[in-house]
Subunit: 194 residues, 2 copies
DNA sequence: GGATAACATGAGCTACGATTCCGCTTAAGG
DNA sequence: CCTTAAGCGGAATCGTAGCTCATGTTATCC
């Protein structure tokens, strides 16, 4: 979990910049095109040497892990916004957050891949954020339940579950797979029966 | 597509047996435990040398491909049964087939993995079966539509899409992910609104 | 400016897993 | 039985990708 309370001495300016360059390169490379992409490519793309990558991240999984962590932070921001939005009906607030997060995931193959075939090692880096995600989801689910707008048997951990399901079908438009329809299907299934 | 019309000369008895041993070993090894498992392990498990594996399958993907092909054949059998079952209501026939296929997939991590992160190469081996799957799905979807039991905007290609989604959430019971509930959620979403 | 601790570099090391190759074995036909 | 071609074994090869390290560079502080 990074460094609690900035105990660490501030990085040298060039080091901080390189760190960002590396993350950006990794996002671009893993995010859109190539499924895997090796460290050497990330380094080249960032305009630094491989050694520099390893100075900032102990190993490949740490780099991937940081990407996942960032993604969760964004996910959580969406949920937080939904929680703070008093104007929307509880179910719609939840649904909106899911739609927004799904849309973001659609353009980030890297994290999707990481979220799926989830190597524990990678996930470990985002443990705190993952827990926060569940906590926020619980709030939204609870409200929707109380408003009677969400099936009784829908639980907070179903939120990441269905998100995972929808994400797994992204990027296959050529087979006629439209994740937007998939998501709407799931959202309908979440409504109370009768 | 194997050999059209058995044009090939019959294999030697031991060769045929070994081929089956190899497939069985691959199913067991990739199917349940280990995520990957290398050829050497499959060979050892089958009680043959690596060379023998390569005599029967040009490369690893061909072996995986055969596994996927077998799985699709079973999937298709379920759909076929649903089509032939006159007693069930159209939607229930479709839903039943999905439930059965999902249950089978749940105990076959190998194919699930292959179906997901779908390397085209692996899939190519099951092209014919994949098309047959869609053809059968179309029949069931068409019937359910005509009976007014399925949302108008649900199309045949949504069948593999939602299956993929549900499969992607299997094997994470420890996180509270129950694919059965996930599937039921999706099935509810498939029903006509109103 | 100069000292120095951080930081960067990238050739090369290492591990690992897919695939090959060739001498040996054996099923199957006569 | 004997021949022989199909089949087998598994050590050795090859390619790849993660990672290390000895050497060179530079931000930062005085």
């Amino acid at each position: 979990m990074t460094d609690l309370l900035e105990t660490a001495k501030p990085m040298r300016a060039d080091a901080r910049r390189n760190r960002e360059l590396i993350l950006a390169a990794a996002r671009e490379l893993l995010g859109s095109e190539k499924a895997d992409a090796q460290i050497d490519e990330v380094a080249a793309r960032a305009g630094v040497g491989v050694g520099t990558v390893y100075r900032h991240f102990p190993d490949k999984e740490a780099l991937l892990g940081e990407l996942v962590r960032e993604r969760f932070i964004r996910f959580n921001a969406r949920l937080q916004e939904a929680i703070e939005d008093e104007s929307a009906a509880p179910f719609d607030a939840l649904a909106g957050a899911l739609r927004r997060n799904a849309a973001e995931s659609a353009s980030d193959a890297a994290t999707r891949r990481a979220l799926m075939s989830g190597s524990e090692r990678v996930f470990a880096h985002a443990e705190a954020e993952k827990e926060e995600f569940l906590r926020l989801a619980e709030v939204l689910v609870g409200r929707a339940h109380r408003a009677g707008e969400l099936r009784e048997d829908f639980v907070a951990s179903d939120v990441p579950m269905v998100m995972c399901g929808v994400c797994s079908t992204m990027g296959k438009r050529d087979a006629g797979w439209e994740w937007e329809r998939h998501l709407e299907l799931v959202l309908r299934g979440m409504r109370p029966s009768g």
